[in-house]
Symmetry: D2
């Protein structure tokens, strides 16, 4: 007989198919990502800039049910935020419900969270979990959406433009409250985890696990583990196959074009481009640029990636060899000082320089802050750096991430991420004692496959099922996992 | 010995190579095209919207040299407009100078012009021609740029948001002035030509030719010619190979992605898209979408184009066969009612519908203006049309041209167009008596090739020259033309 | 009411759909093309090489019906040849029948033909036409197929390995026979036309037209026309859109890979390739090589094609700039001495050189026949030319056409060609007096479109029909032609 | 100071760059792979088929140095085989020498080997190792090459067309000889390992490790390990990143086109193709077919691969949904009975069916051996299976691997494999006690990277080196490894 959740699953799937992902509207993610890095732009922001300047921490606000268990910019923006959520995120919510089918567990899940994925938090709450939520970045909150969550009863502590002090205050609210004891931590960047370690180490006695989605946060967890200081199991969802491919390869394949076009209106056809780094991000960028008629060069330090670049039809060069001739320089290495002042000095006039990699270290922007160079802000996210002889280099987003600063993250990618996080929470929470030790784990392959399978209907894709005979021949379970863990 | 213009050519080429096309700034074209169709957007416009509301026709304005021989919105915006021109169009100006090497002829060229290519007008004037210029579209003028041209002494009659009466008044100013007798007409859409035919037929006695760049204008000229009413030679520059490829194939290959992304943030990967029409525009759209992972279907009426679609890897279908399953519908036919209400009724929820073809006839938008459907403007250029059962169709730019409304025309494409127009003017003006009769001509192949050759240096492309022996073997002149006229 | 041929058309179409193009067997074309240039290979040939060495002209042969009105190598091979035809060409025959729906005309068509398309001849005969046929090339006849045609009653004069004297003797048999008066000429290369001009000028009095399919033959016709010596209308089917695209772009896109792989087993990924010439052939080669991961450079003399190459993502260079670094050199120019001894001297070891262009002029192979260089035939169609220092250059097909020598022409392409020729014959034969003068004509656009439409069902492609309203709006006939003649 | 092997490395690299991979000649691999599966073909084989029929085991043969320590078909073929090796494999030999720089170790390496990579064996011997070698497949030996190895003093026991008894006899010779005690095993398929386990378990006392390169052999090793019966360390070189990508993705991207073209001359443009399985092999096949204009459908059981297929622009279907409409069916699953008789019954006429996956289980060929179906062998590797109604299905290589049967493995890929094996041998042999236990290991990432780096010069690819500062920032050693082990 079908289990109950399977029946619910079928109903939700029907609803999902009926109303797939919305389009035609800047997704929430856009506002978020834009705001997170762009303190210049204002026209595109949904946030009412004429808001009073009183700190949210000093305001007395209650939602329509009389609760004050939150701290947001302006609870009155809840209705607008609600509409945003409804239009943009409906598809995600349904997928999340599908993913969280075993939601009986959620009734007992209490979550301290510091993340950018509001929709996940609200869905968890709607399914019975108790959450306290702050933002992972001082710019990343969309005030209206935060208000809507507060109105819906979520304990949210976040607004756009927090000070550093505000930031830690908000995080503290997620952990430190009378009668509150989280049993799970959902983190993005490791700041919440860090805070708990530092201030409330006893909290870990009741914590069943940490779910972390960022490169940085995962790095910090591995360091803790190496140092023998990790005291609960942690799930690294950053490196799950599905999330990786979408966050990097597929997402960047589209966002490199979008980011360059929105900022510079550059024509891709015939342009000479050098892409530093041929990992997943680089592969995505190069595929798109090549397809649109650009001539692409690669720099690499890893011979395996370099060989892949060769076989994919790209010349592998040192940056110095092509720096004088290229029209566009794109960094995707995760490294620092990949583009140095010396390189910048040798670029030709109108060369565009941008970063798709990580943080803001790849281009040595600091080296351009010298008296002989003139900076001219020609539009939001676009600076002309002008040499004494009149040469201009076009620097995008001041070397920060182009895809966060100047383009959007599709709802679909957000959905992959949220679903992955949700499954990781459930897995750690539900796991029988002893399955996970005080270590960092990758999401089990089978769950990774489940995230993928939930997203197939939106492509009208039809999976084939193994026959019993075939499953036996392959030595596989008919429901997966189908590949070894190292398969990418 | 080198001719004088060849020396000048070399100098200009050097300058051109030193400062190639600017980027990092919305080009003029963007403002123009945006404004032409988008009365909603304001944030992105350079035009000061708090301007007084007095009609330009009633204002008394003089430029800094005391001239009043113009009519623009606000002459005070000249400086800002000048800066725009300098940054965005420098590359074009130099190419134009190169193209117009035989500029001694220009001293005697008097031009009545109705076009959107301001930079061409200014260059012609700078080289000694006398021009009177109005806009080809009531929305297409960028006031600041018009002011800059007026300040520079060009007789310009154009502002953004002209009434229909204003429009014809401006055109009249280009022809009807004491002491003014044009010897050439540069038209875009055929309105100026039409006006002269209707009001001042005698003007044609001194006119050496008409240069026309639009599909519509060319169509009108062929009709005149067929009816035996064309009384001067006319050059159809719309169908020159270089311009066609760039206006359609190459430009649309980029603008379809840009237009869809800016308006809907749609993820292309895995999307099912039907493209109606596999001419040059359709070919460009399909190539880009396929390259980014969309699954593309084609509809066609022409078996030759249909066969090309097959060989390029696209399924050729009737619209009805796929209308229920596709995520995006794009029209590129030049036809009318290609997407009917019946099709719209059968689309799935969130289907995006847009037009890359021509004018606004391809999608039967009128059929959607019925009481049972709700329109919701979700952002500039994007409407959700909502069916009673909640289904939403996402209509872009109200069915007008997506690439004009929602994305930009690269400076490079503008340059191709302006250079082609300039050469056509020179050719008709300089042609010995009898070379051109009262008919419509394509730009001579050799000039088409010259336009192309002027744009090669920006790609650092190196042409091979025929040896004498090879030229003889092929029966070709070493300097071209290299292909028969029908070669595309 | 449906016309009779439309009914027949429907029946044939049904049959056609039931048995589409055969595969899994070297097509006839392969044998033909192989043999035409490859006197080395024997294993792959169907021709019995142990055949007696008596000249066919000296043999007495009769087919099973007692006729001797033919001259072939060995009439006994008819059965084998018939089977070849049945398996390989069935699809073509049906398409031809479809094309030749107005076959009543054929009863009176008498044809002198010198071509490689046997299946066309037999179909014409089967439909009532009278034909006499010789081969257009001394190597291009497949003896078994010729025997099958002779057995079927076709007056065929052709065998593999004719001497030059044989060649002209065979051609003479096509024209010069008591009681024979052709009313049409179907030529491929212009030799038959030349022979009639020279020997039997009076024959032209009854000839209604010439159909010519080769570049060379068309060139000769234009020269005749220019010289005022063309005394009947001629149809240039070489330049019809459909045939051009398939013979060049689509066919070469596949045959460049096949030709290189069969001869050298080269891995394409990462290879540096220079393609000389970016016309249709070059475009096809480049698209395929780029898609498989090669890095492609282009040389061009025509700035329009050069600009297209840039926009398609290829660097445009002079051959000298890259000759030292490339792994493969491919000529597609139609020119002569594009690759000179000097270039060959500078190539790196193991560089592959081949010609996809025309005839054998593009690579200066003669310059390699010098004492200091050693030639080593390593396999059929592959020579290593060895420099004194040990450097080897790999020369394919001795500089002749790679796609004819080393790979195959798909049946589909043969079908396009044969159908185009058949329609051209019908058009010239049926045309009312005065429609065609003593000049060279392109196939009317509408017929070109018809050829395309006949081949759409094999792709299961569904054409859209214009509504009356749309046709009127576009000013087109609902049945075409849909595009101007110069549209490609 | 440079170590000695670094100096040698530099010299070899120079030589390598001077004479890169040969082309223009069927590589040895072709003969091998062809013969391994194709007992029909003879024309293309280098093996003298008129050889006497005496079993090699019964012949007395000595090489020119008087040694009889081998068993080959005919020692007289040594010279021809030597020339083959020289031309085809020179590039590999040099790379191997580079890889085996620490060859002092080799002096003491004694190897029992059962593999297809002759060149590796000879190189090892040349560098001082002692080897005894038999073939891994009864058809895979090229007699001339075996003779050349015997002549060079290698103890080789292999000929083409061994009986099963011969096969085990040869393997026995590799292990069982007085005075012979191997310290390493190099296996391909696991037969040698199996034999030693069964017959000479004591041999393992002196064995330091097993290197295995096949899927099957690796599977058997993991089973041994799981069962606790593996008594020495084993290296799984099948799953090293470099080898995987080349054996599967890159190699199949080329060989699918080659295999289909050589056997069927099919035109790819517009063809509808279903590819079963979207792993590395499927990805390679699909990329190539899509690039050449085919319309590709995918079937998948794994949702992650299915999602990748969607994002790459392919429709994911069940085989039943498209089986009636497709022109080509390609299996790449590694599964069995993926194409069943029911599917075959529903295919349309002329549908091509082939297998790129593994062994011969994917297509249920047995189900076609029924009386109502007629088999017609139309050429080597191509059967027409004919249904009673005349429908033909074109079956390639009787369902065995198309890429082994009908196309070639590029020398480059052989080189990757041989180099990987060599490094694995060295690593296991040289590893300090305790590094490897009685388990199955992947090749260390750093060695995988080294294999890749050795092959970069043939693409003229230039790696970038990390600065000290960057290496520290990334926490990496400047010489790698650069990525985690699970990175693909």
């Amino acid at each position: 007989p079908k289990k109950e959740w399977q029946i619910q699953f079928a109903d939700d799937m029907q609803e999902f198919t009926k109303f797939p992902t919305k389009t035609g509207r800047r997704s929430l993610s856009r506002s978020i990502s834009q705001s997170s890095t762009d303190s210049y732009s204002s026209a595109a922001s949904y946030t009412d800039s004429s808001d009073d300047e009183v700190s949210p921490r000093e305001k007395q606000q209650t939602n329509s049910k009389g609760s004050s268990n939150f701290c947001v910019k302006n609870i009155k923006q809840a209705e607008f935020g609600r509409r945003e959520i409804e239009i943009a995120e409906q598809g995600i919510v349904i997928l999340l419900r599908l993913a969280l089918h075993s939601w009986v567990a959620l009734l007992f899940l209490t979550l301290s969270s510091c993340t950018s994925t509001q929709v996940l938090i609200e869905t968890l709450c709607a399914l019975g979990a108790q959450c306290r939520w702050s933002a992972c970045n001082i710019y990343s909150t969309q005030n209206e959406v935060a208000a809507a969550l507060a109105e819906a009863g979520v304990a949210v502590f976040a607004w756009k433009g927090e000070s550093e002090d505000d930031f830690w205050w908000c995080i503290d609210r997620c952990v430190n409250m009378d009668g509150w004891q989280a049993n799970m931590i959902l983190d993005d960047g490791g700041d919440l985890t860090h805070w708990v370690y530092k201030k409330y180490p006893n909290v870990f006695k009741k914590i069943r696990g940490i779910v972390e989605e960022s490169v940085t946060g995962v790095h910090r967890l591995y360091q803790l583990s190496k140092a023998g200081k990790l005291c609960v199991p942690a799930m690294n969802v950053n490196d799950s196959v599905t999330k990786q491919k979408f966050d990097n390869l597929y997402c960047c394949r589209e966002s490199i074009l979008d980011g360059l076009k929105r900022t510079t209106d550059v024509m891709f056809g015939g342009k000479q481009v050098v892409v530093c780094g041929y990992g997943e991000v680089g592969k995505g960028c190069c595929a798109a640029l090549k397809a649109l008629g650009a001539i692409v060069y690669i720099t690499e330090i890893d011979p395996i990636c370099a060989l892949q670049a060769c076989m994919d039809g790209f010349r592998v060069v040192k940056l110095n060899e092509v720096i004088r001739q290229v029209d566009v320089v794109i960094t995707c290495t995760g490294n620092k000082n990949v583009v140095t002042r010396e390189h910048l000095d040798r670029m030709k006039n109108s060369c565009i320089v941008c970063n798709m990699g990580h943080s803001n270290t790849e281009i040595d922007v600091t080296s351009l802050r010298t008296p002989e160079l003139t900076w001219e802000r020609v539009r939001s996210q676009v600076d002309h750096v002008i040499w004494p002889d009149g040469k201009r280099v076009v620097l995008l987003a001041e070397g920060r991430l182009l895809n966060l600063s100047c383009s959007t993250v599709p709802t679909f990618v957000l959905s992959i991420t949220a679903t992955t996080q949700a499954l990781a929470l459930i897995e750690l929470y539900n796991a029988p004692e002893g399955r996970y030790k005080q270590d960092v784990y990758l999401l089990p392959k089978k769950m990774d496959e489940y995230v993928a399978s939930l997203h197939l209907p939106s492509f009208d894709a039809h999976l084939t099922e193994l026959t019993d005979d075939q499953a036996k021949y392959l030595g596989l379970n008919k429901n997966g996992p189908f590949k070894p863990n190292y398969y990418r």
